[in-house]
Amino acid sequence: MTGKVSIVASGERELVITRMFEAPPHLVFEAHTVPALMKRWFTGPDGWVLATCEIDLRPGGTYRHEWKHEDGRTMGMGGTYKAVDAPVRLVATELFDEDWTGGGTVNTQLFEAVGNQTRLTTTVLCASAEARDNMLNSNMEAGIAASYARLDAVLAGAPIGEEV
């Protein structure tokens, strides 16, 4: 029905995440900006809930998300909206309470109509190239691309270092 999520590196500091949805942009946009709707799907791995979702949807407005695990663990992040252009574009900063992204990111979400569907393109701009690479480990692929065939054998558990 809908395509799978695609995650690719772009430039030195960006990740581009793309996915199609079987709904028009205004609904996808709404699902990304209304707390009660966010809580329905933005929950993450099993066992977690999006316990707090506060959104002040205007340029300069802030947002705050807090997740809770059934075992008591919590996790939070938030940021500031830089641009709010309903229902086609959202730009916001993002920083986790424990900074896993090496200085936070600036995320741009484009909600693009494709027939009756929506293509959601999220561009994540990291603070540095290193932060980006650490997040996606994208260069693991790029760096070893030259010997991919050999690497496939490695991943499959074939003996390494022997004459082929």
């Binding site: 029905m1 809908t2 799978k4 999520v5 995650i7 990740l15 995440i17 996915r19 949805f21 079987e22 709904a23 609904l27 996808v28 709404e30 699902a31 709707l37 329905r40 799907w41 933005f42 929950t43 993450g44 791995p45 947002y63 998300h65 997740w67 996790m75 992040m77 959202l90 916001a92 993002e94 986790f96 424990e98 896993w100 992204t101 990111t105 995320n107 979400q109 999220t122 994540v124 290193e130 690479d133 650490n134 997040m135 996606l136 480990n137 260069n139 693991m140 760096g143 070893i144 030259a146 010997s147 050999r150 690497l151 490695v154 991943l155 558990g157 074939a158 390494i160 270092g161 004459e163």
Partner: protein, 132 residues
């Protein structure tokens, strides 16, 4: 916003496995990736690994230590050359990690798919209601 899954998994998985952390740190450097690519072709001594780089052997040894700590490279038992070889398992774990976070992301979006179906239904009903 959506990138939180990446962070989340980095956090969860790294706490779960210090070695995975070491793997990603080791892979974050272009020289170390090049060394790994070279070793993927077959085992090589430190001198052989240093040759293509404008680097001293001690500098290459330092990179090799990081790769060894991550479990990506091991030293073969050969007293003379002490050739290094690539180890497959940590890379397979790293690849598995990447796939796992893609899956969790996809699951989030599948929940969103279901919600959007519901929203479309409600919108359709509202439109019908207005017409009547």
């Amino acid at each position: 916003m959506s990138i939180y899954i990446t962070d989340w998994l980095l956090k969860g998985m790294v706490m779960e496995s210090n070695q995975l952390d070491a793997v990603f740190t080791a892979l974050a450097d272009p020289t170390r990736r090049a060394i790994l690519a070279r070793l993927a072709e077959g085992e090589a001594s430190v001198a052989e690994l240093a040759a293509p780089f404008a680097m001293s052997q001690p500098a290459v040894s330092k990179h090799l230590k990081m790769l060894e700590r991550a479990g990506l490279v091991s030293t073969a038992v050969d007293a003379q050359r002490r050739p290094r070889r690539i180890e497959g398992t940590p890379l397979a774990e790293a690849a598995g990690w990447l796939e796992r976070y893609r899956e969790i992301w996809e699951r989030n979006y599948q929940r969103l798919d279901a919600l959007l179906e519901e929203m479309k239904g409600l919108e359709h009903q509202a439109r019908k209601g207005r017409k009547q």
